[in-house]
C-alpha cells in the first residue's frame, strides 16, 4: 500500500475525463449560442430570399390580374353598350310613335275648330253687312233731318248775331263812359293816397329824427355840463316845485 497503490488509469478513462473536462457547461452554452446565431442567420437569409420571391410573385400576379380584369371589363362594357343602345332605340321609337299620334290628333282637332270658326266668321260677316246697311240708311235719314234743323238754327243765329252786334255797340259806348268815370275817380283817389302817404311820412319822419337825436346825443354830456341847464329849468319851475314839496 503506499502512494503507488492507486490503479493506473487507462487511456479511455483519460479521454472520457478530457472530454468531460473539455465539454463543460460553458462550452456547451457557447455552442448553443453559436448554433442559435447560425440558425437565426440562416432563417434571416432564407426569409429575405422568400420575401424577394414573394414580392416578385405578387408583382407578376398583379400585372396578370390587372390585364385579366381589363379584358373582362372591356367585354362587359361592350356587351352593356350594345344592350343599352338597343334599349334606348326601342324607347325612342315608342315615344316617337306616341308623339306622332298625339300631333295627328291635335291637328285633327285644330282643323275641326278652324272649320267651325270659319263658319262662325261667315255668319258674323253676313250679320255685320246687314247691320251696316241698316245703319247707313238710318244715318242718311238722321243727316237729312239734322241738315234741316241746322239750316233753321243758322237762320236764327244770324238774327241773334245781328241783335248781339247791336247790343255790343251799345255796351262799348257804355264802357267808354264807365272808363272815363273810372279814370276820373282813380286820379282823384291817387291824389288822396299821395297826400295821405306824405302826411304819414311826415309824422314818421319826425319820429325818425327824434330817434336819431336820441341816439346821437345820448351819453354825450355829463351831468356837470348839464347842470346849468338843469338849474335853469328848475328855476323856471321853482314856484311849482316849492308848492309840490309843501303839499
Amino acid at each position: 500500500m503506499g502512494l503507488f497503490q492507486h490503479k493506473k488509469k487507462s487511456s479511455t478513462d483519460d479521454a472520457l475525463f478530457n472530454e468531460q473536462h473539455f465539454f463543460d457547461e460553458n462550452f456547451r452554452e457557447e455552442l448553443r449560442n453559436h448554433g442559435r446565431w447560425y440558425f437565426e442567420k440562416v432563417i434571416n437569409e432564407n426569409g429575405a430570399l422568400f420575401k424577394q420571391d414573394l414580392d416578385a410573385t405578387i408583382t407578376e400576379l398583379n400585372g396578370e390580374l390587372k390585364g385579366h380584369i381589363n379584358e373582362q371589363l372591356d367585354v362587359a362594357i361592350a356587351k352593356v353598350s350594345v344592350e343599352l343602345q338597343g334599349h334606348v332605340t326601342k324607347q325612342l321609337e315608342e315615344q316617337f310613335a306616341e308623339h306622332n299620334k298625339a300631333i295627328q290628333e291635335a291637328q285633327d282637332i285644330a282643323l275641326q275648330q278652324m272649320a267651325t270658326s270659319a263658319q262662325n266668321l261667315a255668319q258674323q260677316h253676313k250679320q255685320l253687312g246687314e247691320t251696316l246697311e241698316k245703319a247707313i240708311t238710318d244715318q242718311q235719314a238722321t243727316l237729312a233731318t239734322t241738315f234741316e234743323d241746322s239750316k233753321a238754327q243758322i237762320t236764327k243765329m244770324k238774327d241773334t248775331q245781328g241783335l248781339t252786334l247791336q247790343w255790343l255797340a251799345q255796351s262799348v259806348q257804355a264802357l267808354q263812359q264807365q272808363h272815363e268815370q273810372l279814370t276820373t275817380t282813380l286820379q282823384k283817389n291817387v291824389a288822396e293816397q299821395k297826400a295821405m302817404l306824405v302826411d304819414v311820412f311826415e309824422q314818421n319822419m319826425a319820429q325818425v329824427i327824434e330817434h336819431y337825436l336820441l341816439n346821437a346825443l345820448g351819453d354825450q354830456y355829463d351831468l356837470k355840463s348839464q347842470l346849468p341847464s338843469i338849474i335853469k329849468q328848475m328855476e323856471l319851475n321853482k314856484q311849482a316845485i316849492v308848492d309840490d314839496m309843501k303839499s
Binding site: A206, E210, L213, L227, Q233, M245
Partner: protein, 172 residues
C-alpha cells in the same frame, strides 16, 4: 356846550355833503355808535379799565355838528339829539331825480344846495339813471312829476318839425 332846548329836528341845517336820505340814515347810525362809544368810555373810566380809543368822526357828522353848533356832553343830551335825528330822518322832504348819465357827487351837492336854498332847507334827493332822457332831469316829488329832459323837449317840439316838413313840401 349842549343842545339848546329850542333846537329841534326842524331847525337842523344839513351840510351840502349830505345829499340823500341814506346819508341822513348813515348820520343817525354813526351818531348812535358814537353815543355807545362815549357811554362805554364813561363806564370804563369809572371802573379804571384804561383809556378808550379816540373817537373818529366822519366828515359828514363833523360838518353837521359844526354847522348846527352841537356839542352834546352828557348822555341825556346825546339821547335827545339821537331822538331829534331820527325825527329828522323820517321828515326830510325827498325829491327823486332821474338823469340821463351817472351823477357825480359834486353836481349832486350843487343841486342839493339849490334845493335847500330855493325849496326846502332840509331837502334831500334820491338819484336814478335813464339814458333815454338824453339830457336834463326827470323829477318826482311826493305828489307830482316834472319831465325837464331833452326827450320831453323834443316830444313837445314834434309839431314844429312836422310844420317845417309841411312847409318844405309846399315849397316843392
Amino acid at each position: 356846550m349842549s343842545v339848546p332846548r329850542a333846537l329841534t329836528f326842524a331847525d337842523f341845517a344839513l351840510p351840502t355833503n349830505i345829499v340823500s336820505k341814506s346819508d341822513v340814515s348813515r348820520l343817525v347810525a354813526e351818531f348812535e355808535q358814537v353815543d355807545d362809544q362815549l357811554t362805554t368810555a364813561a363806564i370804563r373810566s369809572k371802573t379804571g379799565a384804561g383809556q378808550p380809543a379816540p373817537l373818529s368822526l366822519s366828515q359828514q357828522l363833523t360838518e353837521f355838528m359844526n354847522q348846527n353848533k352841537l356839542r352834546p356832553s352828557t348822555s341825556k343830551e346825546r339821547s335827545e339829539l339821537i331822538k331829534q335825528l331820527r325825527l329828522l330822518k323820517d321828515s326830510v322832504p325827498v325829491m327823486h331825480m332821474t338823469f340821463a348819465v351817472e351823477a357825480d357827487r359834486e353836481s349832486l351837492q350843487q343841486l342839493v344846495q339849490w334845493l335847500r336854498s330855493s325849496v326846502h332847507k332840509q331837502a334831500v334827493i334820491t338819484v336814478g339813471i335813464q339814458p333815454a332822457l338824453i339830457a336834463g332831469v326827470y323829477m318826482r316829488t311826493p305828489n307830482h312829476v316834472r319831465d325837464l329832459s331833452l326827450r320831453a323837449s323834443l316830444k313837445g317840439s314834434r309839431g314844429v318839425l312836422v310844420k317845417d316838413l309841411e312847409a318844405l313840401r309846399g315849397s316843392r
